[in-house]
């Protein structure tokens, strides 16, 4: 576990960093784009949700692989908590996306949802991690739970390239960067990238804080439970 002092330092830096990012996200002038208007600023907040979810998924599968090698409780807990925060960010990404799309792509229609490849793959990720937690909850034995759920996490992760590379070829997309649409770099003003990239880093830092908190809580819970078991036996 990271030392408290270093944790505090990183945490406070993330606090300041994100406050600056949020403020800049509102204050920096942006190019006037039809349909998007001020909602273009959602780029700083909606898109990093997806990046952060992917980062959390990578952290989760990393600890699952570690658990399969070392069979320690901590890496299993870390995998589970990273997956939990990934669920949180994925859910926030998908809901903010629905709200944003409603007033831009689907403005004036009754459409809320569309099987866009990115929407679909985030929805699939949410289902996979929900299934992961259902699987976890079906075990009494912690050794078995760690081993089997880690195997599922790794197995599910190996199918991710299909979500990232195959799904976009099967479905049409309105997202930038999809086939026929201008790439992200072509439509994004350099001014906006000045806030966008720091926002990604900031949200990943926020993920790290939440994840570290949850891991500390789970380790504490574990140690309290073990102590009670030892005291009572």
């Amino acid at each position: 576990m990271i030392s408290t002092r270093r944790y505090r330092l990183i945490r406070n830096s993330v606090f300041v960093w994100m406050t600056v990012v949020i403020t800049a996200g509102f204050l920096m002038s942006i190019p006037k784009i039809d349909i998007l208007e001020h909602t273009a600023r959602n780029l700083y907040f909606h898109v990093p949700m997806w990046f952060t979810m992917m980062a959390a998924a990578i952290v989760s599968v990393f600890h699952s692989i570690r658990h399969l090698r070392k069979r320690d409780i901590e890496s299993d807990l870390r995998a589970a908590e990273a997956a939990r925060v990934a669920l949180l960010f994925g859910f926030m990404g998908i809901t903010t996306g629905v709200v944003w799309a409603k007033v831009t792509w689907y403005q004036g229609t009754s459409v809320w949802w569309n099987f866009d490849p990115r929407q679909t793959s985030v929805a699939i990720e949410l289902m996979v991690y929900s299934a992961y937690f259902v699987l976890r909850s079906s075990f009494e034995d912690s050794e078995l739970r760690g081993r089997i759920s880690a195997a599922y996490n790794v197995f599910a992760f190996t199918t991710m390239p299909f979500l990232l590379y195959v799904l976009p070829r099967q479905l049409d997309s309105l997202h930038p960067g999809a086939e026929g649409n201008p790439a992200f770099s072509e439509i994004t003003d350099p001014r906006m990238r000045l806030v966008f990239y720091p926002a990604i880093i900031g949200f990943m830092g926020l993920f790290w804080i939440l994840y570290t908190q949850r891991v500390r809580y789970r380790l504490l819970k574990n140690s309290v439970e073990n102590r009670y078991l030892n005291d009572n036996s």
Binding site: F15, T19, I22, T23, F26, I209, R216, S223, R227
Partner: protein, 105 residues
């Protein structure tokens, strides 16, 4: 709060309530923010007919109104953000205390 201040505060509230269009009023006499104009009608910043004195926005208020009132959204988001930060920091402190307790046990 003195009694006099309290009384005047009540008067303002009552004035404000009086200013709302009463339910039995005839359709023609309703305030201009009727249904016919839809959401295009700008919201009044002050209740009609109330005795609250109006003034030119200045200072913080003027800042909040700039850019289609975008800065108001910034203020709201920042308040929420600081609330979350406070919450995270508090949880950290509680975890610290528990970890210390557990180490000693």
């Amino acid at each position: 709060m003195t009694t006099a201040e309290f009384a005047s505060a009540i008067t303002i509230v009552q004035d404000a309530q009086d200013a709302r269009p009463s339910q039995d009023a005839e359709p023609g006499q309703e305030a201009p923010s009727g249904n016919s104009d839809g959401i295009v009608t700008p919201y009044d910043s002050v209740w009609a007919n109330s005795n609250v004195p109006t003034q030119q926005p200045s200072g913080l208020e003027a800042a909040l109104l700039k850019e289609d009132k975008l800065y108001t959204v910034l203020a709201v988001v920042l308040i929420i953000w600081f609330g979350i930060l406070f919450f995270i920091a508090r949880t950290d402190r509680k975890l610290d205390a528990l970890e210390n307790q557990e180490r000693q046990a």
